[in-house]
């Protein structure tokens, strides 16, 4: 009861218990700060650096970090690594975020319909979810990415198309448990349409788990983009992404280790941050954990 009072419109959301619990979660705060810094750096960084991310300078090839104004060194074509890192961050974060939006949308739709309608439609949808989960995701993503045109848009769609199942499962379970509650019966008695009950009455009650799953999906999407771009089937050069900056870095590991270490560290920091935030949200929104 207190939770409902605290969340009512009388008080501002930043005074709510949920907000307090989130703020008390140190790791989640750390994650928020790191994401903010990283995003700002990626947005503003390229304007502040003296080099363009695509400017090739063969005299400055393989410069180690802190050579002149090349703060993070240069790559095999003499391009400034810092500028490339920030430009790549824009792509990687954007792909991760868009893939999350799309996959959450698909997952929510499938989950709500399967959970509310049930019956043969629900069974078919949920068995399809199981079917998708039986494929090692990278095999599916690579096969699709290799077959389709690898534009950032297409990569986003392919990642979303193979990462919506988790959300679908969560939403389905949530909706199924809410379906028989009094407020739904009341809605049905009032003659509200199925769509209205599904999306306006039931779905808002499942928003907590969806937000948590969506946050963790950003982390997973960034990782997946990194995997496929590293393997050469994701974002294509000259467009940089954190993953494709690492593509080819292995052959220079002995002479220019910073080429591999720096972009990988950026990926790890971004993904860790989103995982921290997701964990904090799970505690704050009181979503039962599944620890994945």
């Amino acid at each position: 009861m207190t939770a409902i009072v605290a969340n009512s419109h009388q008080e501002r959301w930043w005074n709510s218990r949920t907000a307090h619990r989130f703020m008390n979660h140190h790791l989640a705060l750390l994650g928020m700060v790191m994401i903010a810094v990283l995003t700002l750096a990626c947005v503003l960084g390229p304007y502040l650096l003296p080099y363009d991310s695509l400017y090739i300078d063969l005299r400055a090839r393989f410069a180690p970090p802190f050579t002149g104004h090349h703060y993070l060194g240069t790559d095999p074509l003499g391009r400034d690594l810092a500028a490339r890192l920030f430009m790549a961050g824009r792509i990687s974060l954007l792909v991760g975020f868009s893939a999350m939006l799309l996959s959450t949308l698909i997952g929510t739709l499938v989950g709500v319909i399967a959970g509310y309608r049930g019956g043969w439609l629900g069974t078919t949808l949920m068995r399809t979810v199981d079917g998708f989960l039986s494929f090692p995701s990278i095999f599916l993503v690579l096969a699709l990415a290799a077959a389709l045109k690898p534009s950032p848009m297409m990569i986003t769609v392919v990642i979303a198309a193979t990462s919506w199942m988790e959300v679908a499962r969560i939403v389905e379970a949530e909706v199924r448990s809410l379906r028989e509650r009094e407020f739904v019966l009341a809605g049905r008695m009032l003659g509200l349409s199925g769509t209205h009950i599904m999306f306006r009455e039931i779905l808002p009650n499942a928003i907590g788990p969806i937000i948590v799953a969506a946050t963790l999906t950003v982390a997973r999407a960034i990782l997946m983009e990194a995997y496929i771009s590293f393997l050469g089937y994701g974002i294509q050069p000259p467009l940089p992404s954190w993953g494709n900056m690492l593509n080819g870095a292995q052959q220079y590991l002995g002479t220019a280790p910073w080429l591999a270490i720096i972009p990988g560290a950026a990926i790890t920091i971004a993904v860790t941050s989103f995982n921290f935030i997701g964990d904090g949200l799970r505690d704050a929104l009181d979503v039962r954990g599944d620890h994945t």
């Binding site: 399809t128 039986s134 090692p136 095999f139 690579l142 290799a146 591999a260 993904v271 964990d279 994945t292």
Partner: protein
């Protein structure tokens, strides 16, 4: 028990059916469809392609093509590699052992370390160890496997020179020790993520068991904590882990693909990438279907094993 088995078996069959439909859709999304491999051949004209389509029945309705394709799949006719004409199943078979070796050793590492961390985290709840394990697991889940591999190669192969940077063995030296030496780094790299997952689940499972009545009874009988843990807690906590091991298989396979690429390990993941590079779609499709079938079967086996061990299911 019998009802459970039949139920589980029919579920797996339905799942295989759905998996095959997804696979068939992917196959047809590839530009040129099943004939994509010949579209690249300059000695094939469009007329030839059309004639082949007619001959192979590729202009029939999709559902008929699907039935045909699925039937051949069941019979073990998975097509032939575009690269060397060998049957797809033979090609996969040649690379299977290397992948199983890598996956097996990394699973052993993940279970051993993860179980220990999980139990210790549960028995020393909210201690520094528990806190570090929790944070550590989240970080471990965030590290890209291939990057962890690259850093490992940089430190242990290039800087320290302790471990080989890749391959499964040194040419001319086929001793077991040599294989083991090459296996250490890839299996640890592949295990990292799974140590994290395994330890989190093990912690939860152990906490669940610890709070149960029979543990209180054991404690009331005056058994030592150590004996309670070993005899009553660990066994019961490990039971749901068998199911988890089955569920983790797709992500182990995903990790194996990346690890094999970094360490030039001659397994299925490496084969998959090589085949993609050659547009060898029969092998790509074969691996896609093979891995999914493997996952479905392993989950089935895991459930059956649990059913045999767990008296609640066995005796029902």
């Amino acid at each position: 028990m019998r009802g459970f088995l039949l139920n589980r078996l029919s579920q797996s069959l339905v799942l295989l059916l759905i998996v095959s439909v997804i696979g068939f859709v992917v196959l047809n999304l590839i530009p040129g469809g099943p004939l994509a491999q010949f579209g690249l051949d300059p000695s094939m004209t469009q007329d030839d392609l059309d004639r082949l389509k007619e001959q192979l029945g590729l202009n029939r309705p999709l559902w008929m093509q699907y039935l045909d394709w699925a039937w051949r799949l069941v019979q073990g006719d998975w097509g032939h590699s575009f690269r060397d004409g060998a049957p797809v199943l033979d090609v996969i078979g040649r690379h299977l052992v290397a992948t199983l070796l890598l996956m097996g050793s990394s699973t052993v590492i993940a279970i051993a370390i993860g179980t220990w961390i999980g139990i210790r985290g549960a028995t020393h709840r909210y201690s520094i160890f528990d806190y570090l394990a929790t944070v550590g697991a989240m970080v471990a889940l965030s590290i890209p496997t291939f990057w962890f591999g690259l850093v490992g190669i940089y430190v242990f192969s290039l800087r320290l020179g302790w471990l080989p940077a890749g391959n499964m063995y040194t040419i001319g030296d086929g001793s077991a020790l040599n294989y083991l030496h090459h296996l250490i780094m890839p299996s640890i790299v592949l295990a990292l993520v799974h140590v994290a997952i395994w330890s989190r689940y093990m912690r939860t499972a152990t906490l669940d068991v610890i709070s149960q009545e029979f543990v209180k009874t054991a404690r009331a009988k005056g058994l030592s904590e150590r004996r309670i843990l070993m005899k009553h807690v660990v066994g019961n906590a490990l039971l749901p882990m068998i199911t988890l091991a089955g569920m983790q298989l797709p992500s182990v396979l995903t990790g194996a693909l990346v690890t094999e690429t970094v360490f030039t390990w001659p397994g299925m993941g490496r084969l998959f990438l090589d085949s993609l590079g050659y547009s060898d779609y029969p092998v790509v499709m074969g691996l896609l279907m093979f891995s999914a079938i493997l996952v479905v079967l392993c989950n089935l086996i895991a459930d059956i094993v649990v059913a045999i061990i767990d008296p609640r299911i066995r005796l029902s």
